[in-house]
Symmetry: none
Subunit: 232 residues, 2 copies
Amino acid sequence: MKILSERPSILVVEDDREISRFISSSLSAAGYLPYVAANLVDARKLFWEVRPELAILDLGMPDGDGKDWIAELRQRSDVPVLVLSARQSEKEKVACLDCGADDYLAKPFGVEEMLARVRTALRRAAMMSLRDHVYDVSGLRIDLAAGTVTLNGKLVKLTPIEYKLLMMLAQHPGKVITYRQLLTSVWGAEYLDETHYLRIHMGRLRAKLEAVPAEPRFLLTDPGIGYRIAAS
Amino acid sequence: MKILSERPSILVVEDDREISRFISSSLSAAGYLPYVAANLVDARKLFWEVRPELAILDLGMPDGDGKDWIAELRQRSDVPVLVLSARQSEKEKVACLDCGADDYLAKPFGVEEMLARVRTALRRAAMMSLRDHVYDVSGLRIDLAAGTVTLNGKLVKLTPIEYKLLMMLAQHPGKVITYRQLLTSVWGAEYLDETHYLRIHMGRLRAKLEAVPAEPRFLLTDPGIGYRIAAS
DNA sequence: GAAAATATTTACGCATCTGATATGTCGACC
DNA sequence: GGTCGACATATCAGATGCGTAAATATTTTC
């Protein structure tokens, strides 16, 4: 259970001592509550401990590429990530943004701009509705945080694609997720036309989760629009 | 003959002919459906007609400051705005972001970066659109976020076209939506003359939603203008 | 490297949706 | 009362979209 502090907490992942000092004192002065990690291992740990409302990440970490961490994070959290980097290359920017980063700020940058982008990201995040972390409807239990699925108490094994699909649906119980949204988040933006894949993998999910796949109780089709998982 | 345009529409507000050409052709190539306005007056008009999923705005418009338009837009819509500008000053960036812009890209910029930022903004917008917006009038309940329609508690099944039509109306309860707006947003700009389609599908919607289709309580006709859904 | 698991391609049956055409209704106007 | 224009409804054949099954390709695992 997260304690509601009035100051939004922000995780700063940055190995350069001087820069991280500078950033966190700027954030402090602006009314935020910064936590600092100097490498990815600490960042991972600290993230789930603090559950910050935003993460600021320097790409060049001693123990790995920050991009991997973003991708990993995106599986489990919607926390906005603001990337800082000395790398100016367009390729790098594109890769980060497509990875799930919310914004990319090339060094050197002005403090004011950074703070403005932080405000923007937090403003957006505040608009997002809070979501449950467990979907539990008549025998089907999906633990979004742990990433596990049980049917009548028995663990169900899912393939990676099935998993992503189901998580996407379970994050918004009762709401239609359009073909576009599903294809984008599972396969990527360049697969918008392959609604076909969805039919096949939804079929497989139904085979695993539904007693009578032809009459689904959980995984419902909204013809022409998308799919949705039955709400409690 | 069909074409329920699945391509996300993007409004480009840019007065420089050459730049707007360049941007819109890049967007087209990337699978989007760009609409171009060369000044703020047109932008205002086009925006509400097309209802794009994102707006790209050049700050320096001949008929006013783009910032004002952003602020104005924010009153009525959550559509993300990506600002392009030749002005590099940090003050300007901060002002725009705090005004409600989602992102700020200083010229000159790479196409790839622009497209990546567009993708990022659209990805976020897709998540946001899952927030709750509900039309609920005497037995008819339209959950815009979930995309579901219930009549006296019973779920009503709609076809894709019926769905789009109804959502368009329900987004603005009590307001007349013109034939043009409906045709544009459901079938596309090239169907402006087929008001005929509207009659057929409005008829089908009434058959599903009205107790006495001939005396509609929800789906009202404004002869010569358009249709509207009864306000709460 | 071989075997197993997973993903993609291809094909087809079936139900549903769509828009053309035709006809019916209502009110305005002369 | 009749005509006209705008809107509503009925019917129906063709198009489209969904689900499934099987064959093939790819990735993972040991």
